[in-house]
């Protein structure tokens, strides 16, 4: 019923394809049409949602491609320019090239560093909360609190925590160590603050999903292993991790996609800075797209082209990610 159940439930092969297949074609149970029922009835059922879906998702899908082939801003519709934006974005001698790819590079670095940390700490917290402890549901609830907040609240929270003027961490370090880095305005500190804010915000989500996965593992497996004299660590390695594989795959994929969409934390905390001639050392690609399309000169067409390139990269990364982790299984 849930995707967790779908991911863990006995569907040994097929991976994503199997899951999507089942989602699409159903279980083949009773779905017949009733005698005497109007053939348009089902269409009326899906109409309200499908109309909005068509207008806000299907149509914009094509509109986005269309806009990226023009030279339009938010203020005026420009002429058709074909693939010019794409050519320029892939041409190292173009003035658009360095800033765009710098922001892509920033994002990739963030994904590469944040994903293992968010998965690793999430796994560690899940193991901790899977112990036989009093009050662990309370701890679980506390660890999850930040996930319920808007990224704007998260960004402002850590903007103040690391603020150079009387921010909590800055003052604390100055008081105890006599020194504090200028957290938000110099690197690597700026990236570290963004990383900490992200950990704080989303780690509870990974923890809860992984914990739910751990609790679905049959106790018999551990019992058998302990009779055979397996240590805790051996049990974790040869029972917990393999059993968690489908859920880990889900969490890693979601995490990579989420990290790729980093924007609120740098936007509110560092403003993309410290500034550099490449447009900011902590500016992720989504912030660059936002600033291009909706700030300054509001270059919608250019932003649309950038967004499509980013989307293509994300889709490729997701597929590679899935292949990588699901093929190891067999």
């Amino acid at each position: 019923m849930s995707s967790i159940a779908a991911a863990t439930g006995g569907r040994p092969r097929g991976g994503v394809a199997g899951l999507l297949n089942r989602l699409a074609w159903g279980s083949g149970k009773d779905r017949r049409r009733r005698i005497g029922e109007s053939p348009i009835t089902p269409y009326l059922f899906i109409l309200p949602h499908f109309a909005i879906f068509s207008a806000m998702v299907l149509f914009p899908f094509f509109l986005g491609i269309w806009i990226s082939l023009h030279d339009s801003t938010a203020l005026r519709d420009g002429p058709f320019v074909g693939l010019r934006w794409y050519q320029q974005l892939f041409d190292p001698s173009s003035f658009l090239f360095p800033r765009f790819w710098n922001s892509v590079w920033n994002t990739i670095i963030f994904v590469v560093i944040s994903t293992p940390l968010l998965i690793g700490f999430g796994l560690a917290l899940a193991v901790l909360l899977n112990q036989r402890l009093r009050g662990r549901n309370i701890f679980r609830a506390v660890y999850f609190v930040p996930w319920t907040l808007s990224v704007s609240v998260v960004g402002l929270t850590w903007w103040w925590m690391f603020n150079g003027n009387a921010g909590f961490v800055t003052l604390f370090m100055t008081d105890t160590l006599g020194w504090s880095p200028n957290w938000l305005a110099t690197n690597p500190w700026a990236w570290i603050t963004i990383l900490i804010a992200t950990l704080w915000w989303t780690i509870g989500f990974n923890t809860i999903i992984l914990l739910a996965g751990m609790q679905a593992i049959s106790a018999d497996l551990y019992e058998a292993a302990s009779i055979d004299g397996a240590s805790k660590w051996q049990q974790f390695k040869s029972i917990t991790l393999p059993s968690l594989r489908p859920i880990l795959l889900l969490v890693i994929t979601l995490q990579v996609i989420a990290s790729f969409q980093l924007v609120g934390q740098p936007q509110l905390m560092t403003g993309g800075g410290p500034p550099s001639e490449l447009g900011g050392e902590t500016a992720p690609v989504l912030l660059h797209v936002l600033n291009t399309g909706f700030g300054g000169r509001r270059e919608l067409s250019l932003a649309a082209a950038m967004a499509l390139i980013v989307a293509a990269i994300m889709i490729v990364v997701s597929i590679v990610n899935f292949r990588l982790f699901s093929s190891e299984r067999s």
Partner: protein, 293 residues
């Protein structure tokens, strides 16, 4: 070993207290584990305390009074915020968009999901496949065209603009469809035999049974609407929601962090209360839904 056998989390009770094989966990190890749990909890709670504390310090107090407990706490920042018409607008818009958006999402996705789960019709698989496909497309590629579309139909900076893209989401349809597929069809057939129409069967048989699934979807949808930051910031100017408004507030009052922190607190409080009341339920919703939508 006993620790991993534990199945007591749902009841929050230690399942067994036998010490067999758990010698290492007793005494010191156990204390250390609780210390660790508390330190981690502090990491999650402390920033929130600092934010609320900052919000209670008025104007320059935030620079002269560094303590976590404010020397002279007061609600001046909150009074100043709520005296601003734009802040009231943000708050009102957030409330309207989240509540209205949640109700409409539940209504239209469960209707659609019911047809996909229970009725066979031409192009059904094609339509459903189309919706699945869009689920793997990153939202970034829709920002520009949605902005353009909303602008072209004259909805820039309006409430419908804030709510429309959220209503188009397909997660609710998948989620509710999976639930309806799991319901035994006999009850609905009984209603049919009694002469109920399809809509009637949906409304009075299937929907009442879907309470838990609807509640889960409502929680996830409400949080998504209340917390959305990216879309409002590009589509609103005067008619923003709180998350987008906070960004404007921060730009305008960089030198007055107390006021900005009060704004952040106001944006956080409704979800925190919501979470406090429905804590166990929300955690289970997320654990069971698996996907954020």
């Amino acid at each position: 070993m006993a620790t991993t056998l534990d199945r007591g989390i749902a009841k929050d009770q230690p399942v067994e207290l036998s010490t067999a094989g758990t010698g290492r966990r007793g005494g010191v190890g156990r204390v250390l584990m609780y210390v660790l749990l508390f330190v981690i909890a502090a990491f999650f709670v402390l920033p929130l305390v600092v934010v609320v504390s900052a919000s209670l310090k008025f104007s320059a107090e935030i620079f002269t009074d560094p303590g976590i407990l404010p020397a002279d706490p007061g609600f001046e920042n909150y009074a100043a915020l709520f005296a601003r018409a734009e802040f009231l607008t943000w708050f009102r818009n957030s409330a309207i968009v989240s509540i209205f958006g949640t109700f409409v999402t539940l209504a239209i996705t469960s209707l659609s999901a019911y047809a996909f789960a229970r009725i066979d019709f031409p192009f059904k698989n094609l339509l459903f496949g189309l919706m699945i496909t869009t689920l793997v497309l990153p939202s970034v590629m829709f920002l520009v065209p949605q902005f353009k579309l909303i602008g072209d139909v004259g909805l820039y900076d309006t409430l419908p603009a804030l709510v429309l893209p959220g209503l188009a989401g397909v997660f609710g349809v998948f989620f509710m469809r999976q639930f309806f597929l799991g319901l035994p069809v006999e009850l609905e057939e009984a209603a049919y035999v009694d002469g109920a129409s399809r809509l009637r069967t949906f409304m009075s048989v299937a929907l009442p049974l879907a309470g838990p699934a609807l509640a889960t979807l409502a929680v996830i949808t409400f949080l998504a609407f209340w917390n959305d930051y990216l879309w409002p910031q590009i589509i609103c100017q005067d008619n923003c929601t709180l998350p987008a408004g906070l960004r404007l507030l921060q730009r305008q009052y960089t030198g007055d962090p107390g006021l900005v922190m009060a704004g952040a607190t106001v944006a956080a409080i409704p979800v925190l209360i919501f979470y406090l009341v429905l804590q166990r339920y929300i955690v289970q919703s997320v654990a069971s839904s698996g996907i954020k939508g």
